[in-house]
Subunit: 181 residues, 2 copies
DNA sequence: CGATCCTTTCAAAAGCTTCTGAAAGATTAT
DNA sequence: ATAATCTTTCAGAAGCTTTTGAAAGGATCG
């Protein structure tokens, strides 16, 4: 039964992937389904997911849909088969790009917008403040500006990374390494 | 009352920062406390936190401790005052470095270790598998190797970024931009 | 058209995380 | 040593997220 240990490796990976994702704010089941489809060479259907991960039909359905919305898996169809099957994106760099793009849209953009709004308020009120209050406002201004600048730089870098990704970021890392020292 | 809008900006930022963090798997209160200390020019004590964020003493205590454990805030003391005060790291790049380091240790390293274990199992069992099972195992091997390689590259890049960070990553981004095209 | 097969939906339940508040523990002052 | 002040702890409460399972909704087949 040499396959036993291989299957164990498969399910160990799936479980750990789910645990990791959970600590990054992604539901465990969604991540487990993703891991399962990521390692599989064949597309899987809802019943496959239900069986392998022991989840209900409802949960499988909802989580599969979310993964499709994220763009991490795709629906595929087979001839003479009404069932829907799902297949994961297998290119790790493409996956990374998708995740970064989604999270930026959902979670980073709102805070950037808030920071800009806060800075606007500060510059509008600046003239009306007492000397003391102005000092405080200037501290806020610096903090908000710092974060915005950080976001901008990270943005640029991630864009560069996803551009470089497919053709190979490893050589890039080496080059950058030399530049930085 | 020009200060009213400034205070509103402050608390808006704190709330949004908390919401963002919540979607990244960090508790809202912990993030709000962090945001509050980050924008403040003066250290704050437990009662300040309780008052501004309307949380219980227990919650303030626990979350402050966690922030200290993460290395995102520090305890500071004042003469003739028994109270403990807390002050955030204000350098955004230092903050980034701290967060990346912590999360890598807590969440990335376990999955890397698992992947290595899985690869070991596969290479051990490889010889004992039927032709069909071996084909499947080879798919797993490729997937696991791909992720490991990805982790390695990201590791290198983040190390470079935190090295470059303080002296300025913006010029670096420009340089990299030219390299990538 | 009715039967079959598959997917989606959603209210209730379960499970998980975080918070509360009072009591215990520490530390410093008198 | 005792009082005063501040911090930590933790069992129970509250709140939030996810899952379940059955019913409804769609699509395709004969």
């Amino acid at each position: 039964m040499a396959e036993g240990r291989i299957d164990a490796a498969r399910s160990l990976f799936i479980r750990r992937w789910g645990e990791m994702a959970a600590s990054w704010g992604i539901s465990r089941t969604m991540a487990e389904i993703h891991a399962m489809l990521f390692v599989s060479s064949q597309p899987a259907c809802t019943d496959d997911v239900m069986e392998e991960l022991a989840v209900s039909r409802g949960s499988a359905s909802i989580n599969l849909r979310q993964l499709v919305n994220w763009g991490l898996i795709h629906r595929v169809h087979r001839r003479n088969d009404r069932k829907e099957y799902f297949e994961a994106e297998h290119d790790v760099w493409q996956m990374f790009d998708t995740i970064i793009r989604e999270r930026r849209r959902r979670e980073v953009e709102p805070i950037v917008e808030t920071l800009q709004r806060c800075l606007t308020i500060i510059s509008e009120e600046r003239g009306r403040l007492s000397a003391e209050a102005r000092k405080e406002a200037e501290v806020y201004q610096k903090r908000f500006t710092d974060i915005l600048e950080f976001c901008g730089t990270m943005n640029t870098l991630f864009n560069l990374m996803s551009k470089a990704g497919r053709t190979g970021l490893k050589p890039l890392a080496k080059t950058v390494g030399k530049l930085v020292g």
